[in-house]
Each structure stands twice: as C-alpha cells, then as structure tokens.
C-alpha cells in the first residue's frame, strides 16, 4: 500500500458541461405513473418483475409437486408440465433477473452512485419500462389463450417449438416470441441509457476507476446485453416467420405427425447458435451485476476495502468479453461439427480463471475484516457458497467430454439453478435488505430477515446440491414422469419427494419476506440517511429517500475511491467518496 499525497486540483477536473435543467413532473400522473425519474422507473421495474416472478415461483411449486409425487395431482398433465417448466425458465431468466438487475437496480443505483441527477434520456427511460410492461402482459396472456402457453422448453428449439406435437403450438409460441421481441426493444431503450449515463454523466472527480463495483457490474452487463440480445431478436423474428408465414429458416424437410410438412431447407442448429450466442452472455448479464453488488455488500459490511479493486474491474471486463466466445458449450451434443468442442471447451475453462479471482478477492476481503453479520452480509456469504458450488460444477459441463454423459440430465438443472438462479437471487435479496432503507427511509425487520435468509439459503442448498447426484445417476431433465427405468432406484424417488418438500418450505419463506417488505414500509425503524455507514454516493444524498434530482442544489464532488473503509488514522471507519481531504493532509489511496 502506498500513501499518495493529495492534489485536489489535478484530481478533479473543472466541470466541462454546466448542470442541465431536469424535466420536472407537473401532476400526480407524471410523478408516479408516467414518471421520467429513474428512481420511480426503478421501482416500477422492480414491482413488475417481482409480480411476474411470483408467477414463476408458483409454477415451480406445481412442477415440483409433479416431480416429487408423480400421479398424485390429477390437475397436472404432461402438456401442462412442459408449459410450467417453459414459462418458469423464461420468466426467471429474462423477465425477472434481467429486468430486476438492470431495469430495477440499474435505474435506481446508476444515477445515484455516479453522482448524476437522473438518467441522460429520461423520456426513453420511461418508454423502456412501459414496453417492458407490455412484454410481460403479452407473456402472461399466453395462460389465457386456447392451447395455453408454449411448452417447448425455455430454449424454444425448433422444429419442435412450432410443430403440433408440442403444447402451445397455436398461440403460445407466437405470444412468447412476440413478448421476447418487445422485451428486447424495451431493454435496448433502457440499456443505451445506462451505458451513456455511466460514460457521460458522472460527477466531477468520479473517474472510471473510482466507480463502485456495482456500477462496473451493471455497466458491463448492459454493454453485453446490447450486443447479445440482437441475436435472440433475429432468432425470434425468424422463428416467428417460420411459424406464421411458412418460411424455413430453421425447418428442414420433415414429417409432422406422419405427414410430409411444407417446410424444407432450413437448419435447426442455426437457431441454437443464435439462441446461445445470446444465451451464454445472458448468464453473465445476470451474474455481473450480482458480482458487482455483492462486492459492495461485502466491503461495506466487513468494514474493509474490496481486495484487489483493479483486478476486480478487469475480471468483470474479461469475463464479459470471454463470454461471447463460449456459447457453443451449450451445444456439445447438439450434432454440430465435433471439432468445435476443442475450441469451446478451452475458452470455457479459461473463463474460470477471472471468475476464480473474483471469488478469491471476496473471501480475502473478509480476511482481517470487521465482519458485521447483518442480513445483507449473510446473503453475501450465501451467495459465495452457492456461486462457488455452481461455478465449479460448470467446470464439469464446460469440459466437453464430461458434458456428454451429464448433458440433459438433472445435473445440468442443478448446476444452472445454483449458479444463475440461487446465487444471483441471494444477491438480489441481500441488495434489497441493503438498499431498502435508502428507498423507503426505513429498515427491514431484522428477525424476519434472518429467518428469511436461513430458510432460503439452507433450503436452496438442500434442493440443488443433492439434485446433482440424480443427474450423475442419469435421471434426465424435462421428464413429466420417470416411469420404469431399471437404473433409477426407489431412493431417487424419495429424494425427489424430499426436494419438493424443501422447495415448498423455501417458497413459504418468501411470503415472510413479502410481509416484511410491506410491514416495514409502515412500521420499520427509521433508518436515517446512511444506516450502514457506507462510503458510496447514494448514501450521501441530502434527503432520504432521495428527492427529484437527487442532490439538491449542488452536485457532489468525488475525492476518493469507493472503498475507504477503516483507513488508518481516520476519525471514523469509513470516509464518504465526497468528503474532501483536510487541506494539506496526506491520506488515502487514489487508485
């Protein structure tokens, strides 16, 4: 560690652009409904994502009931089971996690953390939310049309997705693809906003290497999403054309229910390439914001600077870049040219290195810290465990030949739920406990929070850790019933029943969390402006919750990085980013 003398003039360039006049709402409607304030839009995004997420949660209970107790619930048939898994998967990945991390946390935190008054394009930001809402409504409407939602699996692989052997072939698939197209349009409007705001609207002194890792994570994920979603967009449009106009982008000559179909000449593998060119970066679009947020949670609640900040930033960028050259590891057994396996296995396993660095730096941040075991910290610890577990099983599936026996088994289901389901949701929940005081001015109840954490974390681990071993045994995924198979012992059925019971319990704990959210809004302890004694700018606003324009008359000026915790000789164990150094003093690190 090197102490550097502070030179205020050199560090803080003069403002090049004068403060821009904000758009001001004039009525209740433009203040709370058609609002252009990023904070309101963030809450709209979060509530909508949570609402559709609850639908996905209920769907998971239904599919677990079927898996745990096959034949018991006559109201679930094979078609519905496929519809449940499809909608559950798509909702969780796109409409909940992507929307919540970028539309929710991104909107709320980016302007506050970089010291801006709002997003740079507030009107487009508002449109982004309303198009997202429309996408969610179109998606949900599939439950009410003849034939119901599509049951093609969340990967929507053609030819199956648009042929008559699959549930939802009439309306469901059309609504699903239309909804995805809308989602991408809405996301693009929001995403451009986040990127430009981070690049152009940072306050004086907020250099890129002083940004909190939360902003780095959301920023990189957004850039990736802007590059990856177009692949899904064109894939969806082409599949929609195949379904509605009879084109054959993805459809070879084939037999449909005993009859030669009208299709011919297309390639089913082309869709898989387009889907996974989006789909793999998507994993990191969800993971990178989680990486960033959890870094800040750990640092704040361990009262210690994040270990290896620069390495953390470069790891985020490296993971983002590498994730565009690994997509075909989802296709090792797809029938693509087998020699691609060498390339994609190598790139995939290389990603493990920057990812491992991040894990090391999180646990090294704990080392010699002053660890406050608050609810956000507990969720951060839960994240590290589930992420390490899920990340390491990724090394099985990424190593091409190991993937061959494990692909399409419950091992895959367990892996991706652990790494991009449970782990990011641990971060989402920890982040809600962390920032709820800033959003509402009140603390969430601690006792309920700890109950919520332990049931959710231990329950999720008990669900997904043993599930890997079902996959190792060979139990295939997406099976309505396992039926008779000599290699599946009765004990595997008992394990399935156990997993179902735990899953329902974890679901119940989320109701406690919802209660806490509502109850604390009225009865929670007033939090004050900076209850966690954190350094980043969002905790230094003149009002809590932050008012329109965030900063009152004067934008904050940033003098230091985001991690000045427990600085030797400082009066407190944290120094806010906007606290000027005492004149003539030597202190702090300016990385």
């Amino acid at each position: 560690m090197v102490d550097v003398p502070y030179d205020r003039i050199a560090d803080i360039p003069p403002a090049e652009v004068p403060d821009v006049e904000l758009y001001h709402p004039r009525s209740w409607w433009t203040r709370y409904v058609f609002s252009q304030d990023a904070k309101v839009i963030a809450i709209q995004y979060s509530l909508t994502a949570s609402a559709i997420g609850l639908v996905a949660l209920v769907l998971s209970w239904l599919m677990r009931l079927q898996l745990g107790f096959p034949g018991t619930f006559s109201f679930i048939d094979a078609n519905q089971y496929l519809q449940f898994i499809t909608m559950h998967g798509m909702i969780m990945v796109i409409y909940l996690l992507t929307a919540l991390f970028l539309g929710g946390f991104g909107n709320y935190l980016i302007p506050l953390m970089v010291g801006a008054r709002d997003m740079v394009f507030p009107y487009v930001n508002m449109l982004s939310y309303w198009v997202y809402l429309l996408a969610v409504l179109v998606l949900a409407s599939a439950f009410f049309v003849p034939g119901g939602p599509t049951g093609a699996g969340w990967t929507l692989y053609p030819p199956q997705a648009i042929l008559s052997g699959t549930p939802g072939q009439d309306w469901g698939i059309v609504l699903m693809l239309s909804s995805l197209i809308l989602f991408i349009i809405g996301f693009t409007m929001g995403g451009l906003n986040y990127v430009v705001t981070v690049l152009q609207a940072r306050t004086r002194g907020m250099t890129l290497m002083r940004l909190p890792l939360t902003v780095w994570g959301i920023f990189t994920a957004t850039v990736m999403a802007l590059l990856a979603f177009p692949a899904l967009f064109v894939g969806s449009v082409m599949l929609l054309l195949d379904r509605l106009l009879g084109t054959s982008f993805f459809m070879p000559t084939l037999v449909e229910m005993g009859q030669l179909s009208k299709y011919g000449g297309g390639s089913p593998l082309l869709f898989q390439h387009l889907f996974w060119f989006f789909g793999h970066p998507e994993v990191y679009i969800v993971a990178l914001p989680a990486f960033g947020i959890v870094s800040d949670l750990i640092s704040t609640h361990a009262r210690k600077n994040i270990f290896g900040y620069r390495m953390m930033v470069w790891a985020i960028v490296a993971i983002g870049a590498l994730s565009f050259v690994v997509w075909a590891h989802h296709m090792y057994v797809s029938g693509m040219y087998p020699y691609f396996g060498f390339f994609f296995a190598t790139t995939t396993l290389i990603i493990a290195i920057p990812t491992a660095i991040k894990v090391y730096n999180w646990v090294l941040t704990l080392w010699h810290g002053d660890i406050h075991l608050t609810v956000p910290m507990l969720f951060a610890l839960g994240f590290i465990i589930t992420f390490v577990n899920g990340g390491l099983t990724g090394l099985f599936l990424g190593n091409v030949v190991v993937d061959v026996p494990l692909s399409d088994t419950m091992f895959v289901v367990a892996h991706f739920h652990m790494v991009m389901g449970v782990a990011p949701i641990m971060v989402v929940l920890g982040a809600i406990y962390h920032w709820y005081p800033k959003v509402t001015g009140r603390m969430l109840n601690d006792v309920l929070g700890k109950f919520h954490f332990w049931v959710t974390f231990l329950g999720a681990y008990l669900i997904f850790f043993p599930m890997h071993y079902l996959g190792l045994l060979g139990v295939p995924r997406r099976y309505f019933e396992l039926g008779d198979a000599a290699f599946i012992p009765p004990s595997a059925h008992s394990l399935n029943a156990f997993i179902t019971v735990v899953a329902l319990t974890v679901g119940f704990a989320q109701m406690v969390f919802l209660f806490n959210l509502v109850w604390s809004l009225f009865e929670g302890e007033p939090s004050g402006g900076n209850p966690w004694r954190a350094t980043t700018l969002e905790w230094q606003t003149p009002e809590t919750p932050p008012g329109h324009g965030n900063w009152g008359k004067q934008l904050p000026i940033v003098y230091r990085w985001a991690y000045d915790y427990s600085v030797p000789g400082a009066a407190q164990d944290f120094i806010p980013q906007n606290q000027p150094p005492p004149t003539g003093a030597v202190q702090g690190v300016a990385p």
Binding site: G165, G308, L349, A356, I371, T393, N399, V404, S566
Partner: protein
C-alpha cells in the same frame, strides 16, 4: 459462533454426502471409462477448491466477526498473492482440460473397423437399421417415408435392399465390437440416451449425427430420449441388448430385411387391391 459453525457444517456435510450418498453413476457398459476417469479428476480438483474456500470463509467469520474495538486492516491489493492464486487456478484448469480434450479426441475419432448402426427417432418411438450382408447401409430420404417404408429408404439403392429394419423392437449389439451409431430424426430433435453407455448425441432432422462405442458388458439397458421432443418425450422408450456374438447372430437371422418387408407390403397391398383378402 453459529454462522461459522454452519459454514463449517456445509463444507463437511457436502463432502460426506458426496462420499456416502447412494446416488452415483450407473455401472458402465462401454469403453468410455475414460469419461468417468475425467469426471473423477474434476471431482477431486473442484472438491478441493470448494472445501478450501468454504473453510477459509468459516475461519474468517469465526476469527474476524465484529467485536467492540475491532478495526479492519487496510490493504487494497497484494499483487503477489493475486498472481499466485491466478497461476494456481490456471494449473488446476489445465489439469482438468488436458485429459478432457484427449478423451474428446478419442470420442470423435471412430475406429476404422467399426460397424455402422442407424437409429432413427420420431415422435415418439425409435427405429433401428443394420447393414445387411454387404455391410453397407442404403441411402434414405425423409420424402420416401410412407406406411410401408417408415424409415424412408431409397427403393432404388441396391445397398439398402438387404438392410435389416427394426420397427418398435429392441436393438441388439454384439459385445466387444466397436459400433458407429448413426443418428437421424424425421421430425424434431431427439437424443438417443443410454445412461450406461455414457455417450450420447442429439438427432437432428436434416442431418446425420454420430457417436461410437464398444460395448464391454452384456445386459439389457433402457433407452431414453434426452432432448425435449414434445408432449410424450418422457414415454419415448426402447431397450438395447448387448449380448455374446453368437446370440447376436441368432437374433440377426430372425430379422426382416428391407426388401423382405417391402415385398411383403407389396403383396399385402396387391391382395388388398384385388379385394380377395
């Protein structure tokens, strides 16, 4: 410290579960024991990292949890430590990747003496085809498919006439002989999946995909479909029987050839048309 203790129990519990759980892979029936070996190497390396990280976290929580008067250390970076950790990770990754790629090379390299077998998937059943006396499979096309010719063989191809066609039956394979399994689908994606074989590959309409195996033990094995193929995906079953060469040939003798089948169908049709059935 309850939290540290729970973290410790998670690490120990996961290892014990791994060692003692009754759920483990099926006894292997082909030459792909190398795949199992690679999985074992991966388990050792990842298991070590997992346990080490969780134990270290448990230690940190135990040793550095907040107490009155505790102050955290201030150390933004440690280049040397970060460097060593990166190199160590790189070595671990290479130790898993290298054997994986070696085995993958074997997996995609079919031995020259392998005999061909064709498996065709359709919603929701399996059909099989073996080359006849000439040792060659005849050509096929989806457009040829009809009730009399369910696999769509080309009637004009002399190599196809003696092909053995098995519909709604089980597949038999001789033990010890390498087999190149050619995979085909007529409608949607399927995946010929026998857990004991370890090898599997999707079947894609419009393409012929493959894998190869050498069966090493006799027995009857369940065939499942491993790629979602519609409403009855979970019911798409068959059996593979690996048996001694003599048993295999005895079975093969009883099977119908394409010429035989289509001849019979032609006779049936002729009878039907003449109305004297």
């Amino acid at each position: 410290m309850a939290v540290a203790l729970i973290l410790l129990l998670i690490a120990i519990g996961s290892v014990l579960f791994h060692l003692f759980s009754p759920w483990w892979w099926t006894p292997i029936a082909t030459n792909w024991g190398y795949i199992d070996d690679t999985i074992n190497i991966t388990f050792w390396i990842t298991g070590f990292v997992f346990t080490a990280v969780i134990l270290f976290m448990a230690y940190c929580v135990f040793r550095f949890h907040h107490k009155e008067g505790r102050q955290a250390a201030y150390n933004p970076e440690n280049k040397k430590l970060e460097w060593w950790l990166s190199v160590g990770t790189g070595v671990g990754v290479a130790a898993m990747l290298a054997p994986g790629l070696v085995v993958w090379h074997q997996f995609v390299t079919v031995p020259a003496d392998a005999t061909e077998v064709e498996i065709m998937g359709q919603q929701w059943q399996w059909s099989f085809r073996l080359p006849g006396k000439d040792g060659r499979l005849g050509t096929s096309d989806v457009r040829n498919i009809s009730p009399e010719n369910p696999m769509g063989l080309n009637r004009d191809d002399p190599h196809g006439q003696d092909d053995v066609v098995i519909e709604n039956g089980d597949l038999h394979l001789p033990i010890g002989k390498p087999v190149k399994v050619l995979l085909r689908s007529v409608d949607v994606l399927h995946d010929f999946y026998v857990p004991e074989f370890r090898a599997k590959m999707d079947m894609v309409p419009g393409m012929v995909t493959y894998f190869w195996i050498r069966p090493i033990r006799t027995g009857t094995f369940d065939v499942l479909c491993a790629e979602l193929c519609g409403a009855a995906h979970y019911q798409m079953r068959a059996k593979v029987i690996v048996e001694a060469e003599s048993d295999y040939h005895a079975w093969l003798e009883q099977q119908k050839t394409f010429a035989g089948l289509s001849g019979r169908n032609a006779v049936v049709r002729a009878k039907y048309n003449s109305g004297d059935d």
